[in-house]
């Protein structure tokens, strides 16, 4: 069973036939080639697949592509400038907020959402925000530092 779905992905209009059971994560990765969205559990726990749907973070493995009719989806590719890195990405690099990098796109998506709503998060707020994303490599310490650094940079930059 397939359905026609129309949505916006990283600012571009997309129109595709999708099987009703196609998860948004598979749709993004396989149909659109946006492999920056990773899949770590496919049961909604690890957060690796996190993308923004209409500005809110959502787990792409728990959404069906067909549910996203009319939605605006933003993936890590959409949060990456055409040249160079965003200040948030740069903070992850500078703070060593990643090792294998598999959780990183999901972490950056939730950190982006946090900073959009809260320009001066406390450490506890940062931990709360990334608390639904698993990282098996870093023990989270440097990820927290990276988000805090990005927040400071944003404030300094006005």
């Amino acid at each position: 069973m397939s359905a026609r779905v129309r949505l916006t992905v990283n600012g571009e209009a997309v129109e595709r036939d999708v099987e009703a059971r196609r998860a948004l994560s598979d749709f993004l990765r396989e149909d659109l080639g946006l492999t920056g969205t990773h899949v770590g559990c496919e049961h909604g726990v690890c957060g690796a697949c996190t993308v923004l749907v209409d500005g809110w973070s959502a787990r792409a493995c728990l959404l069906l592509a067909a549910q996203c009719e009319g939605a605006a989806v933003t993936t890590i590719e959409g949060l990456t400038p055409a040249a160079g890195l965003s200040p948030l990405q740069e903070a992850f690099r500078a703070c060593h907020g990643l090792q294998c990098g598999f959780c990183t796109p999901g972490m950056i998506v939730v950190a982006h959402e946090l900073l959009e709503g809260n320009p001066a998060p406390s450490e506890a707020e940062i931990r709360e925000a990334i608390g639904g994303n698993l990282c098996m490599c870093t023990g989270y310490v440097t990820i927290v530092r990276a988000v805090a650094l990005a927040a400071r940079g944003r404030r300094a930059g006005g």
Binding site: H43, Q89, R93, M136
Partner: protein, 800 residues
């Protein structure tokens, strides 16, 4: 070799990951991102039973589904391939094929593989396969197996015990006879795993024209995998190519040659590329667990706390592991004495098969359990003797003046000041002050506990240690290979046979090469991952046993120096200078003190590759060198069965403060301090990250993680909803301090760092929780310390 650090001094700097630029942008290339044309996807039909005979198998309906390209049963796989070679030969040879043919021996063991146009179709087909099972009783208790009881996995072996032996080092009986006391305890370790966020996967393609296979996999140990693939497929290694892309975490778990074989057989059958990627449930159920087990410890001591002897009985629950059993036993010989002077040691070991997921390498392999048993025992002994636990340790450490120190089992501690490490950790933790706060807190009803645990962390496995078991030597030592090349345009490129899975080798290798060749790390391109066709590699190659710092670095330095030496010879010839007057700096070979008399790497590369008449007489064209290095501490087993199972030794001290919620039994870590000494730090950013991550693994094992099986061998924790991993809300802001006692035996003075937190972490947290529960008289003998476990202790004690 002379220490690096000249001329750029890049080694030792906190240089941010070169890899980060692609990874933070989602531009990594992980296994599942690869999609060759006309790709087929595999789903596996897996056993729902821990132990069952396949009476009948009907794939007709599945094969008829549209989109299904091929179905491979266990019986077909056994006809088309040879069994996977075991590391430890069994008494009677057992065929262990890539799919189970007649019997399944653990829940999740695959018996049929389906290749279809997409994964969903393959899963539909797998569901349409009809299996008639005869369910057999399951062996779930390794101790029963050690006693010769319970159902047999392989009746032809007559036992589930793969190995049982007693190794005795020194006069253990005399030590116990002379002791003022003996502490006897029994500890258990649960099954857990590091569960890299990216699951295991592979792609195989077959070329009928040349009878050759190409593989892509996030396999951590490609050297060994190449030999297994060649043997099982019956083709020479020259007709195999294995490539590892970016690997999303490994920690030892990322290996399963069987799945590569399944894809290879399906690729040959269909003539198409075939991909298999585990889903999370498959990964948790059937990839690899750290072995659980039971350990009985007897520690003989003098009244002043001096340790005299140690006797350990260690039963390892291997699951259905025919490929690498005994690994969890043998590796414990590396840290059985931990940092202590224990003159006499007896180690009695059982390696026992059970109807559970195969065990295998997992951050620290066996050493976290060994450390847990020793460090728990030290905490209990301190309590018994009325000594502060830190003081008891200080009385027993091997002294800095005793280095290098040979332990009774044959391990060589190359350098380190264990007293200083613990003292630094206590100071950083504000130990005395926190003890006072603890007393005050208790007065106000708070259950605060302080835990100390210290550890040695070996690196590099010496495979000669298997001689203890097999009586003969097959593989031995610890070695790695690397390549450094200056391209015809002058750009530097390097590759190494060890595919990283988050350790930042593209950065560290670039730092090392940069120092040797007088360029900046950004001017060195290090190959991503591994490619057997282009990367230099050995059977021993791979990303395992903490070996980068102690083995791989020698390969990189060696290759870079050969290229450097050649650059100097070329430049000396062309500049008509004495080689001793030349230096490599800022991308050129320069005559020291004579500005302008210099040749850039690009100019020298032109001579080497194009204008070859300009080469010195007898010099070969080209600017490329390969070098392999073996760690010099590895040696064969001696007549007393002493063998260094692992090599260079780092060390660490962990102190943590926890609070137990008396209402819920929940444990919160309020402070966590690590002081570690991994010799020279090649890149402090990476080192600190390793310590954080590794410690978080220890915390997870201590408080949350367990693969729990019921009495029928059913796995009860097979998703991240019930197999709990630590989140950012569980792991505290781990505070890391460091000492640097360089290793005298590694080329850059570095030691291993990847496993250091995972080894003492469980013991440190357990010691703290027990300390918090001191008013309740609880002894921690097993993990994880879940709220339920702790709450039951509190309730039982209140009820009593």
């Amino acid at each position: 070799m002379t220490p690096a650090g000249e001329p750029g001094g890049w080694v030792g700097r906190a240089y941010p990951l070169k890899e980060a630029a692609r990874l933070v942008a989602g531009r990594g290339r992980f296994l599942d991102d690869l999609a060759p044309a006309r790709l087929l996807h595999v789903a596996m039909l897996r056993s729902p039973h821990a132990h069952a005979r396949i009476v009948a198998l009907d794939v007709t309906a599945a094969a008829a589904l549209p989109g299904v390209a091929a179905i491979l049963t266990g019986a077909q796989a056994a006809a088309l391939s040879k069994p996977i070679r075991p590391l430890i030969p069994t008494a009677v040879p057992i065929g262990d094929w890539c799919l189970a043919a007649d019997r399944a021996r653990f829940v999740g063991e695959p018996i049929v593989a389906v290749a279809a146009v997409d994964r969903a179709t393959a899963e539909d087909a797998a569901e349409a396969i009809r299996v008639t099972w005869e369910v057999l009783p399951a062996a779930v208790d390794a101790e029963a197996g050690a006693r010769g009881e319970g159902p047999l996995l392989y009746p032809e072996l007559g036992s589930n015990v793969v190995w049982h032996d007693t190794l005795t080092y020194g006069d253990v009986d005399a030590a116990f006879a002379a002791a003022d006391g003996v502490l006897r305890e029994r500890f258990e370790m649960q099954r857990y795993a590091s569960t890299p966020l990216e699951t295991f996967g592979c792609i195989a393609a077959y070329d009928a024209g040349t009878d050759a296979y190409t593989f892509w996999s996030n396999d951590q140990r490609p050297g060994l995998t190449m030999s297994i693939l060649a043997e099982s497929l019956g083709v020479p290694q020259s007709r195999l190519r294995l490539t590892c892309p970016d690997i999303g975490g490994g920690f030892g778990n990322k290996r399963r040659p069987a799945w590569l074989l399944v894809c290879a057989l399906l690729a040959k059958r269909t003539g198409r590329s075939v991909k298999f990627v585990e889903d999370r449930r498959e990964s948790l159920t059937a990839l690899m667990h750290a072995a659980g087990g039971v350990m009985e410890v007897a520690l003989a001591y003098r009244a002043d706390g001096t340790l005299l002897g140690l006797s350990v009985r260690d039963v390892t629950d291997e699951g259905k592991n025919l490929v690498s059993p005994t690994q969890h036993n043998l590796i414990k010989l590396g840290n059985i004495a931990n940092g202590y002077r224990i003159p006499a040691i007896r180690y009695e070991a059982w390696s026992v098969l059970t109807n559970k997921c195969p065990t295998g390498a997992n951050r620290g392999i066996g050493k976290p359990f060994m450390c847990f048993a020793i460090e728990r025992s030290m905490a209990l002994l301190a309590r018994r003797l009325g000594l502060d636990p830190a003081e008891l340790r200080l009385r027993n450490y091997v002294g800095v003046d005793e280095m290098p120190y040979r332990t009774p089992t044959g391990a060589e501690y190359d350098s380190g000041d264990y007293h200083a490490t613990l003292r630094a950790a206590l100071a950083r933790f504000r130990y005395a002050e926190r003890r006072r706060e603890q007393v005050e807190g208790r007065g106000r009803g708070r259950l605060l506990g302080i835990g100390v645990a210290t550890s040695v962390e070996p690196a590099g496995t010496n495979l000669a240690s298997y001689e203890i078991i097999t009586g003969r030597r097959a593989a031995s030592g610890s070695a790695e290979a690397a390549m450094v090349r200056i391209e015809p345009d002058g750009r530097v490129r390097a590759a190494i046979g060890d595919p990283p899975s988050g350790q930042g080798y593209e950065t560290v290798v670039a730092q090392i090469v940069a120092d040797e060749l007088g360029v900046a790390p950004d001017e060195v391109d290090v190959a991503r991952g591994f490619d057997s066709a282009t990367t230099p590699w050995l059977y021993l190659s791979g990303n395992y046993s903490n070996k980068f710092s102690v083995t791989d670095t020698g390969a990189v330095v060696g290759a870079a120096r050969r290229v450097r030496d050649k650059l100097v010879r070329l430049a000396a010839h062309r500049l008509e200078a004495d080689p001793v007057d030349l230096e490599l700096r800022d991308g050129a070979v320069r005559v020291r003190g004579v500005p302008g008399r210099a040749l850039t790497l690009g100019e020298l590369a032109r001579t080497a590759y194009a204008d070859v008449l300009g080469l010195p007489p007898g010099e070969q064209p080209g600017l490329e060198a390969r070098h392999a290095h073996q760690n010099p501490l590895a040696r064969p087993m001696d007549a007393a069965r002493r063998v260094p199972s692992q090599l260079v030794f780092a060390n660490a001290a962990h102190c943590c403060l926890v609070e137990v919620d008396p209402g819920t039994g929940g444990v919160r870590i309020l402070a966590y301090v690590v002081v570690h000494d991994c010799g020279r730090e090649l890149n402090p950013l990476i080192v600190e990250g390793m310590v954080h991550g590794s410690t978080a693994h220890g915390i997870g094992a201590a408080l949350l993680e367990e693969f729990r099986y019921d009495e029928h061998g059913q796995l009860l924790t097979s998703t991240f909803m019930d197999y709990l991993k630590p989140t950012a809300l569980d792991v505290p802001d781990i505070d890391v301090g460091r000492l640097e006692h360089p290793s005298p035996v590694t080329p850059l003075g570095a030691k291993g760092v990847g496993e250091g937190g995972a080894i003492p972490g469980p013991a440190a947290v357990a010691n703290a929780v027990e300390d918090a529960l001191a008013p309740y008289g609880v002894t921690v003998r097993a993990l994880p310390l879940t709220p339920e476990t702790v709450w039951r202790w509190l309730a039982a004690s209140r009820g009593a």
